[in-house]
Amino acid sequence: MLAPYLLTLPAGLWLLVLFLIPLVVMLSLSLQTCNPATGACVMTWHWGEFGQQLSLYHTQFVTSIYFAGAATLIDLVVSFPIAYWIAFYGGRRKNFFLLMLLVPFFVSFVIRTVVWQFILSDQGIILGGLKNIGLLPQNFHILATGWAVIAGLAYNYLPFTALPLYVAIERIDKRVLDAAYDLYATKREAFLRVILPLTIPGMFAAFLLTFIPALGDYVNQQILGGTGDTMIGTVIQNSFLVSLDYAGGSALSTVLMAVALIGIFAYARILGSRTIEEYL
């Protein structure tokens, strides 16, 4: 009788200690007023903090949504053929190909990003060569631009798109294709009207799994970006680690989470919540 409850205990505790409690502390902190010197905080129910932070940093929110959105779209376009190919033509080596997809990600996130600094540097192995043969103007650069940040995000979050897409494509019953051909569908029609609709829930799961972490990312912009393209993650980091402004940082995190949650609920409304559970 108790067994099912006991079995959920580890997961429940994990959720409570590592998610719910920190979440409540964050919500609480965002309404408090803190002394940065002593760290003493008092609850002042300062609801104005949200509006204040949002008015200060709405530009960085918009930048984050734009960068994360662009990176996610790139990932969807790039990883769809990969996932499709592995699911349909991977044969017995499917697991090997999936592993190959993940191998670069055994290296630490920051190191992978820093390596891009060297690859893309102004006089580096790619740009330096192209400049020397006159294909690019001398002052051309990719680093320190928004494009570099989008590229970094797309690169770093690719597996979060590719894997859910693979799962979605893999579980398509291959006989529906035969049925489509029996009904005189061309290859193109079979793909557009049978395969693609069946992968839409997977695509949305991939979208969420990529977009949400990319939205709060604070590494790529700092390593690859330039001026004026700061993402909200960096602002939150600075609130905590430069200004010791825990209330402000918590308020920004709360707003960021609200934005992400609204995204999830909007998605659930459009496609039904069942599909989220299936593919996440």
């Binding site: 409540v24 609480s28 760290g39 003493a40 600094q117 102004d122 330039g226």
Partner: protein, 445 residues
Amino acid sequence: MKEQDAPGPERQEAPMDPSLWRGLSQPRLSRRQVLASAGTGAGAMGLAAFLAACGVKGNAAPSGSSPAGGVGTEAWWAKQQLHHTVNFANWPYYLDVLNGKHPSLQHFEQTSGIQVNYTEPINDNVSFYAKIRPSLAAQQYTGFDIIVMTNNTPNALGYLLQNHWLIPLDQSMMKNFYKNAGPLVKNPAWDRGNKYTMAWQSGYTTVAYNSSVIKNAGNSVDILFDKKYAGKIGMMSDVYELGSIGMLALGIDPATSTESDWAKAAKKLQQQKSDGIVRAYYDQSYIGHFKNGDTVVTQAWSGDIFQANLNSKYADLKMMVPGQGMMFWTDNMCIPLYAQNPKDAMTVMDYYYDPQAQAVVEYYNDYVCPVPAAKEVLLNPTGWAQQALKDLKPEIGLPTSVTANAPTVFPTEEYLKQARNYRTYKNAEEVKAWNDLFLPITQGA
């Protein structure tokens, strides 16, 4: 939730409410909706109480000019005993290392009988301060008897001083210090009379340029604002470095600057950014970009340029001594309040003002040496340092004279003259005012 739903005794006995009959024939809330809304209401109330209870109970900083309970007074120091152990927290790569051991510390342990637990947990002033702050607020030992904090970070060392969270040093135990400390670190602006701190190492924040691209760089920080190098100029993301150099460019001494000066500097730096002159605001990674050629002029730390020049590949990277001055920062040893081994801590701190000990440290790390007499030891090694320097040589791969003759290690007259101090902030409001001016530059649109 219980109070709201609990049926009162009179309600149990009451006849069936006519409204209930009406409800049965009319659209109404489903059971689930009722439960959900009741849950939300009660949950919100519970959450509110819980949120309010989450306040961090910190102790207000003690008022007055020194910690409560006479800590750090002569009488207090007289009562302290040696415990023959001390916990020393420092930054990484800041103390001589040979085969996993620290020669200068080993010598200290052998001669003093005090065992030093040397750790390197400090990677950043503010986050380290945030880590020890809860202990100090709760009036507990932080686990460290010596910590090393930079004077240019007001929301770390500045707050420690303002909160009286440091133990005033025992001046009678600073014999080596008063005998050997250099002019830049004795009686410094951020801690008059060395009441709370003794320098560990220092450095300059200045301008560096790539001499293979820029032939006549001159000697002015204005080069950082030169449109000729637009998009190839690196600035620091640290708001205290950024704001300070902005003021030097306007001919203002950061140490004595006023809030209106800060606003002027912020305006100049904002203009520099909107003109597309700045490539990016960098953390320590600036040096990699400078070496790669991504930047040709950059704000730079003297130690990094010295290290880069040791490799002939980067010999073109030059450090400038601008006419407007160079920011001089110092990492300070200090004893956090509630330290368990203060007397042992004083012993180690003063030991490092011995020229022989300092020579060994300097040969390894090449920062600005707080002890000018260490130069002589590096040129003509004597005593125990002779063996230690000899042992370290294969590891370092350079003659000790290179370190001894570097102006960035032992400042020349010119370097001494051009050193400028950071602003010493009076309180948290001043720090906030500064951050509110300069953070929008590094992280704004």
